[in-house]
């Protein structure tokens, strides 16, 4: 083990220029990857917070429907496991809410003699995907004029977040493959430079893992250093972005960026794991041809 680590550091510094080139490219790749990761996380976060506003179903009741009937409907809805909250909204209360929306222009609504708004039942579902089930149930009730919910909007939102997540995933995978190739090429240089030594090691009876050891450590070393570099840069840039646009975002979309101190820990772990994984895979690939017995 100590042999592997000693050798790895020697090799790393002996191939200074190539090692630097590898560090550069892995860092660049991890950087791009990091930004996409942040984008994906923030889009998901945004989607989650927006979804919260869409988990409501409004059952507008016919004016002819008596309160007793709506009560029995509410009871039935409450029994459904998908439903988290059921509440009755009278037409007067609805008007009050409506007026609030108009603020100082509320007097415009006063002109109407009769309240055109219906009495309604407000249902909240636990999970946005359950909307359909609840709507289907509600359709079987008598006395409902119309059911209002945001199915299309929600579906579109879900599709959008899935697209972003899948896109980010594909890109990340692609970049990981590229960096493995870069690392394996760099390490191949050391392997070739030491092929005499490797041949002797094999003849004397070193195990393949013993021969791989130093190269594996070299690869992991490159990966971890790159991870540290790129995690640092991503953190700095992200902090700056939050500084510049954080309040704008909060105003526009009533949601905020996922905070840096929450992200950075995860990001560092992901980067370190990815970096080490890239390095390890790269070195194992670079050695394959040399270890075939």
């Amino acid at each position: 083990m100590s042999y592997a680590i000693k050798q790895a550091f020697k090799q790393f510094f002996r191939n200074g220029a190539m090692s630097a080139a590898s560090l550069f490219s892995i860092s660049a790749i991890l950087l791009i990857l990091g930004f996409f990761f942040l984008l994906a996380v923030n889009v998901s976060n945004l989607a989650e917070s927006v979804k919260k506003d869409f988990d409501t179903i409004q059952l507008h009741l016919l004016d002819s429907a008596e309160y007793a009937r709506s009560e029995s409907m509410m009871k039935k809805l409450k029994l459904m496991p998908e439903v988290s909250e059921v509440r009755y909204l009278t037409k007067d209360q609805a008007m009050e809410d409506f007026k609030k929306l108009f603020g100082d222009k509320a007097y415009l609504l006063e002109m109407r003699q009769e309240n055109p708004l219906p009495n309604s039942i407000i249902v909240k579902v636990r999970r946005i995907e359950d909307v359909d089930a609840v709507v289907a149930r509600a359709k079987s009730f008598d006395g409902i004029e119309v059911i209002k919910y945001y199915k299309e909007a929600v579906n579109r939102l879900i599709r959008f977040t899935r697209f972003i997540q899948a896109g980010a995933m594909a890109l990340i995978l692609f970049l990981v493959v590229i960096s493995i190739v870069v690392v394996s090429n760099t390490i191949k240089l050391t392997v070739v430079a030491r092929d005499r030594e490797i041949a002797i090691m094999k003849y004397v009876g070193a195990t393949n893992w013993f021969i791989r050891g130093p190269f594996l450590v070299e690869g992991i070393l490159m990966g971890v250093i790159s991870a540290a570099i790129s995690a640092g840069i991503v953190a700095l840039v992200y902090a700056r972005v939050i500084d510049l646009f954080g309040t704008d975002l909060a105003v526009m979309l009533s949601t905020s960026f996922v905070p840096l101190d929450f992200m950075i820990g995860n990001l560092a772990v992901i980067f370190a794991a990815l970096g080490a994984g890239i390095g390890a895979c790269g070195s194992i690939i670079s050695m394959r041809r040399f270890l075939d017995t």
Partner: protein, 244 residues
Amino acid sequence: MIEYKNVTKTYGANIGLEDVSVRIDKGEFVFLVGPSGAGKSTFIKLMLKEIKPDSGSIHFDSLDITKMSNRGVPKLRRSIGIVFQDFRLLPKKTVYENVAFAMEIIHMGPRVIRRQVPQALSLVGISSKASEYPDELSAGEQQRVAIARAIVNNPSVLIADEPTGNLDPETAWEIMRLLEQINLRGTTVVMVTHAKDIVNKMNRRVISIRNGRITRDEKKGGYGADDEEIGGAGLLLQGRLSGL
């Protein structure tokens, strides 16, 4: 100790070995002779499990190495020491480090290494050059270092692939005496060679391979006429070897 049973190995249309059966006992000293391309290298590579035979079996001690998985290869090679014509020392390591390297890579502790390396160096008579680098040594001295490296882990078999090929006659004989001495300690020695003079004077077992078959196996044999090289390159080689 080592037993080949009906071993055949082909490389496409070319024959490496064809239906070879032979047995080498513990403590023997065996010369493997024959023209270039006759199958000597194939014979050695099969013993090291560098290649696999098409058919037949090879037993090392009681182990059938043709059935052994690749994971067993390192262990097999630890019981075989190898010396090459071109020494194959690591130029950036000293004599001592070159020999110690063979022990380090099979996880021997530093104390064992400090004890056994000087012993191996003194056995091959190179102790005084322990801290020098290979390119500061003569060819004969380099081969001694290579032998020290091959025996430092106490292998039961020492394979010498033309160990005297790069040496002048006098130095070649010094190396031969060293190999004989190692053989006397109980190590089986298998030596591939074209050195007619050496084979004749040593008067040991000679296995002659030609076109992938064993054509001669004598307990106290000499170098036969049909073991000579054929063709231009062979003649050149003969010219050099006849000086031995």
